[in-house]
Symmetry: C2
Amino acid sequence: MTTPLETALAYHRAWASGDLDRAMAYIADDIVCDAPAGRIEGAAAFRGFMAPFVGMLRGTSLLAAFGDETTALIMYDTETALVPSAPGAEHVTVAGGRITHSRFLFDRLPFERARH
Amino acid sequence: MTTPLETALAYHRAWASGDLDRAMAYIADDIVCDAPAGRIEGAAAFRGFMAPFVGMLRGTSLLAAFGDETTALIMYDTETALVPSAPGAEHVTVAGGRITHSRFLFDRLPFERARH
């Protein structure tokens, strides 16, 4: 049985390598993700949210990762085509090896500025 | 000897209650804080960064908190006069009961929008 932290890190490694298909294997069909712009419900919507980000990803480094019996909390930095340093943090709840809830935090401001 | 997590939580409780003086007791004089807008160096500059936020704080709730021998990672939600839900995450390094480094993450966009 993998731990929530192992699941969170496997998910992170998958999208960090640009493999969104593999990342989605760790996402529950009925995931609820509370992201900066609001709530995202369901794996299809979550994939739609992640795809543009993964598409512009140039690199990522894990800053910290912890977990307990049901949750994990990770923080990382990312480099994207739009923003050179865009750190993120995710607090995930895991059941049956899949992420059922994610509180997803990053600073939208540099992305907003880069687009306008 | 308090753990880094205990220090991070004591610091969090202090500013959450609006007591910035007490919060600063957990901040090293030479703190380095990597915040969304850039690096903040020294306790005086850090206090200047925190004061406007603490001044408009209406409430906060801890979402997750973990630590090890030298660091802690916490995530919380806050309600401020400007933004009803503004979550934050902090990865802190602690030495001698004081925070020497903080990687501080929150979404600046709703604050930017509320001000303009």
